[in-house]
Symmetry: C2
Subunit: 226 residues, 2 copies
DNA sequence: TTTTTTCTCGTCACTCTGACGATAATCGAT
DNA sequence: ATCGATTATCGTCAGAGTGACGAGAAAAAA
């Protein structure tokens, strides 16, 4: 049997919410091709390594942390014949959602790493497309799953959860209706009994993520397409 | 730069609805490994071929047809180090939804091909898992997209559309409420003006798929988990 | 104390849904 | 031709969910 050989990489779309805005973790490439351009963090899959293990390893290398509280899932694969000038490379993209850590973001083979607000980047390879697909996946999953909690620390307020939705969707949400929705949807969040202190305004109760894996009923965007 | 080499295949989860039941297109393997066992149709990606092109090519080879009216999307990639005894093989799985064609299902390198009702198969490789993932994807997508029409011929009745939902979800649906839902959801279906003839019961109006890519509001299952 | 800020609870009208009745239009049998 | 069986289509109604918004509660800041 004769068949062509490929290299396989994993690339990561790592998203977080800082200052009410959605940010992606990007690295400046320290090697050819595309030396000096921003790109998604990633690297080659090792010889005896599962795809998910490779993604988790890269995530650890790039962020220094794959702690609980985050989320990692496969996004999709990209394998256009000309997507990498070095040869035939198929990349398996993963989507990671993390709380806003005071992350040092030190890269190993990357010249620089940074959280950049999502928008128009001219990323290397086909990474613009992959990033856009990852963002759309995140937007969509916030509707039907409790995944917004992956952007939050272990204990969080309903307002913080709402700000995640607002940042990811780019929409304003009525605080009172969202509060009702989040607290009455079974399994979304659970009260911890504690409250915030020292913040302006009335103290807010703290919650942790609930046990549900699916939100029923879902929290729908106004404009699911754009 | 040194990196391990992989083979890359595409595997297809091809689903259709026949006689009110969900069926998958399976082939009996004509080669080692797993000679003689049922498996998903698929094959190696060619040297200068895009992943989606490879999936479309395999679909054409196995079903003899990739006509309009169907649907093809990437499902996910599977790359456990030991999933193929021949070496390191990553497969990119695709999900295809087709109307119930009188398909000859002739295989090229497969000994046999058949539509089998989905259930417990002991498929080759990790294909049981891939098939299960494909079915779950289809079930989920029927909620939020007009993809049920991909299972139908170009013109279809509301009852036929409902039977698609019933077959894929394994749930009974009230014909009157479903009729209201399907006909009032904007962009789901459009009347053609024609009706069925010669069938028992009152003639039913024929519809074609509408322009919507998302159902808003969605049609939700009772039990989204199982 | 007063003002400001933010959280939390309530109200109300509107829409959507599930359950189900009723009528319409055909086929097949008498 | 008439009747019954079958299926499609339309209506009704109560309950749940949602968006828009008012109002009180509890803290920090002025």
């Amino acid at each position: 049997m004769n068949y062509p050989v490929f290299a396989v990489t994993v690339d990561l779309v790592v998203l977080t919410v800082r200052d009410g805005e959605l940010h992606a973790l990007l690295v400046r490439r320290g090697l050819e091709p595309h030396l000096g351009r921003w790109a998604l963090p990633g690297g080659f899959v090792h010889a005896d390594e599962d795809l998910t293990a490779a993604a988790r390893r890269e995530l650890g290398e790039e962020t220094g942390l794959d702690g609980p509280g985050g989320h990692l899932e496969q996004l999709g694969s990209y394998g256009a014949p000309d997507r990498d000038p070095r040869g035939r490379v198929v990349t398996v993209a993963y989507l990671a959602l993390l709380p806003d850590l005071p992350t040092p973001t030190a890269g190993t083979d990357a010249a620089e790493a940074a959280w950049l607000p999502v928008g128009r980047h001219g990323l290397a390879f086909d990474h613009d497309r992959i990033l856009a697909d990852g963002i759309e996946r995140a937007r969509s999953k916030l509707e039907y799953t409790p995944l917004a909690t992956a952007f939050c620390p272990p204990e969080f307020t309903i307002a913080a959860l709402r700000q995640v939705y607002e940042a990811v969707w780019g929409e304003q949400i009525d605080p009172r209706n969202f509060h009702r929705k989040a607290t009455t949807t079974p399994g979304f969040v659970e009260p911890t009994g504690r409250s915030t202190e020292g913040e302006p305004g009335r103290p807010a109760r703290l919650y942790r993520r609930g046990e549900a894996t699916l939100l029923n009923p879902p929290i729908l965007r106004r404009n699911p397409g754009g």
